[in-house]
């Protein structure tokens, strides 16, 4: 009798475990498809272009099971899978876990408290326990494991899978794409006053300095100014690294000269050369014509 009650509970327990596995797979697939469809719709493949680590692989094709799949697609599949795995794991970790006995007692009130008591006392042999186990075995006969299957939950997942698969097929077939992409999201994030942590009007200063030809920040340097002095064009382009201080490309040569203390001079103010009346040759005309041009504008 003890073996019989154990077999009943174990049979339903294994059926329950199978159904749980089915729910997890269905949930995982549905979540994965939702994520993947969203990634495709919102051009998330451009995300890989924003990371220098992935840049060399963008556009590369990989042969998997005879299919040539580009790196971005693989990346999106992997990302969607990982996210859906995490989300599914969290949901199932937090979900209430009932054992087979609780399930049976809930679904079949005639077994309420009796099944658990019979199962816990299955190794005890006395007249009352035998009577209890006998009664429970008889009342458990009509119980079908298939009654544990939550058809509604599965149908919901199936609907989501079919819907997202259809959307994906449509997007892939028609090549439909939204105009929203990760770069747009980046712009949105940066416009949030505190989230970006900096003034949106300021541009980041690049390590190696910028030139007037820096197209990524067209507003900073403006158009290169050209001045014609006496028929000759004077190049006013800022050399690279100017204004940025010393960079690795502009290290001065090290000298081992010992420090020579300068003579003590009279510490009176020395005016800037800009105000010298006697400017070096050619500078006076350049400066003068520059200000004349500005005045004309």
């Amino acid at each position: 009798m003890a073996l019989e009650i154990e077999n009943i509970v174990n049979k339903h327990e294994s059926a329950l475990k199978k159904y749980r596995g089915l729910y997890i797979c269905a949930d995982l697939l549905a979540t994965f498809l939702i994520f993947y469809v969203l990634f495709v719709l919102f051009n998330m493949r451009d995300l890989f272009l924003m990371f220098s680590t992935f840049e060399p692989y963008t556009g590369a094709k990989f042969n998997i099971l005879g299919f040539g799949i580009i790196f971005e697609t693989l990346g999106l599949i992997f990302l969607a899978f990982v996210l859906s795995l995490i989300l599914t794991a969290i949901r199932y970790y937090r979900a209430e876990k009932k054992d087979a006995i609780s399930f049976l007692e809930e679904k079949y009130p005639v077994l309420k408290e009796r099944l658990r008591t019979a199962y816990d006392n299955r190794n005890t042999d006395n007249i009352i326990v035998r009577d209890l186990i006998g009664g429970v075995i008889i009342d458990s006969k009509p119980v079908q494991s298939s009654s544990f299957l939550d058809r509604r939950k599965l149908a919901k997942n199936l609907f989501v899978i079919v819907f997202t698969a259809s959307v994906l097929a449509y997007v892939v077939g028609t090549g439909y794409q939204t105009t929203v992409g990760p770069t747009d999201l980046k712009g949105v994030i940066e416009k949030i006053p505190l989230a970006s942590g900096s003034d949106a009007n300021l541009y980041p200063v690049k390590e190696n300095g910028g030139t007037s030809n820096n197209e990524s920040n067209p507003g900073i340097f403006g158009k290169p100014e050209v001045i014609v002095v006496e028929g000759k064009e004077v190049d006013l382009k800022m050399p690279p690294g100017s204004g940025q201080g010393f960079t690795s490309q502009q290290e001065g040569n090290q000298t081992n000269e010992s420090f020579i203390q300068s003579d003590l001079e009279n510490p009176e103010a020395v005016s800037s050369q800009a105000y010298y009346e006697n400017l070096p040759e050619g500078y006076r005309k350049v400066i003068q014509s520059y200000f004349e041009e500005i005045a004309k504008e």
Binding site: E113, N121, N123, I127, I128
Partner: protein, 324 residues
């Protein structure tokens, strides 16, 4: 695994007829006692668990009638001890008396009223602590020692002690350690209007109601053994233990909680209730229902709780709600 070695044929018969036995028993009691079904049930539970019960009620609510009727219905020997401050231990246990026989004088033990199956110890809190101890020792050990001789008490042995909740002046309230020896504390309420009308109708006639049928001693002994065989799930054992252990943790309302004796008592009482109700398993309702009579005399409330008018039953109710 065989738990208790009993005659399986007789026990099987008793078990199969248990439902009918109890139904008939309570009907017979109902012919004499009006209402008080809960009290009668708890007295029977205490008997089935081989425990003892403390009854607290106002005078005139039929305590003596109840217990004498139960003992008659069970075909058990009944004795009553009216406790007074001058009651001596030997008045309860018995004493050696000198007897002359064949020109020889010898001591003969004259058993006291404790030598019965059902003993009503009326107003036990009026007896002196020494006399209370003699009674409680007999309850605990189920034997009596007089001089160098030990006398076993007949089984089943059940003591119903009563206390009057009013007029406590000049009494010797039972200390906590001795209260703990009682399995249940039963509260008797006044009857309802209809019940009191029925009492008047029955007991103002020339004929006093009597019990015609009873339960024999062997059947009662079998029922006591069957009580311990009633199975209980691990979940409910944990629930019972949680309830009792929480009485020690709730320091806000309870100064001293119940001992492990209460855990044993609660599970046994729940098993007895399941058997009386005709079930072959203990349910959650049994545990929750029996928690009140098992625990109410084992808790000492804090001063603040008593000042607010909290009763032990309310403390037990709070604990039951907290335990999942």
């Amino acid at each position: 695994m065989n738990e208790i070695n009993i005659d399986s044929g007789q026990a099987a018969t008793t078990y199969q007829n248990a439902g009918r036995i109890f139904k008939t028993f309570f009907e017979e009691i109902g012919n004499v006692i009006v209402g008080q079904n809960r009290v009668i049930e708890q007295i029977v539970i205490a008997i089935l668990c081989e425990g003892h019960a403390l009854v607290e009620s106002n005078p005139g609510l039929g305590k003596t009638l109840m217990i004498s009727t139960v003992s008659k219905a069970m075909n058990l020997k009944f004795s009553r001890i009216q406790c007074t401050p001058d009651l001596m231990p030997s008045d309860i246990t018995g004493t050696n008396v000198i007897e002359e026989k064949d020109n020889r004088k010898e001591f003969r033990f004259a058993p006291g009223p404790i030598f019965a199956n059902v003993v009503l110890s009326d107003e036990i809190n009026r007896a002196s602590p020494k006399t209370q101890s003699a009674m409680l020792e007999a309850m605990q050990e189920q034997q009596v020692t007089v001089g160098n001789d030990t006398f076993l008490l007949d089984r089943p042995f059940f003591v119903l002690a009563t206390q009057n909740p009013i007029e406590m002046e000049g009494t010797y309230p039972l200390p906590e350690a001795q209260l703990d020896r009682f399995l249940l504390k039963i509260l008797v309420d006044y009857p309802s209007y209809e019940e009191e009308m029925e009492i008047i109708n029955r007991y103002t006639k020339s004929e006093v109601p009597k019990i015609s049928r009873g339960l024999d001693k062997d059947t009662l002994l079998d029922l006591q053994k069957l009580t311990r065989l009633v199975p209980i799930s691990e979940e409910l054992k944990q629930r019972a233990l949680s309830i009792v252990s929480m009485t020690r943790k709730d320091k806000e309302h309870i100064e001293y909680g119940a001992s492990p004796r209460a855990s044993i008592g609660l599970i046994l009482a729940a098993k007895a209730r399941a058997l009386i109700e005709g079930r072959n398993f203990v349910s959650k309702e049994d545990i929750d229902y029996m928690a009140y009579p098992v625990l109410r005399h084992r808790l000492i409330l804090t001063f603040e709780a008593e000042r607010k008018g909290m009763t032990p039953d309310q403390a037990v109710e709070d604990i039951i709600k907290k335990v999942k």
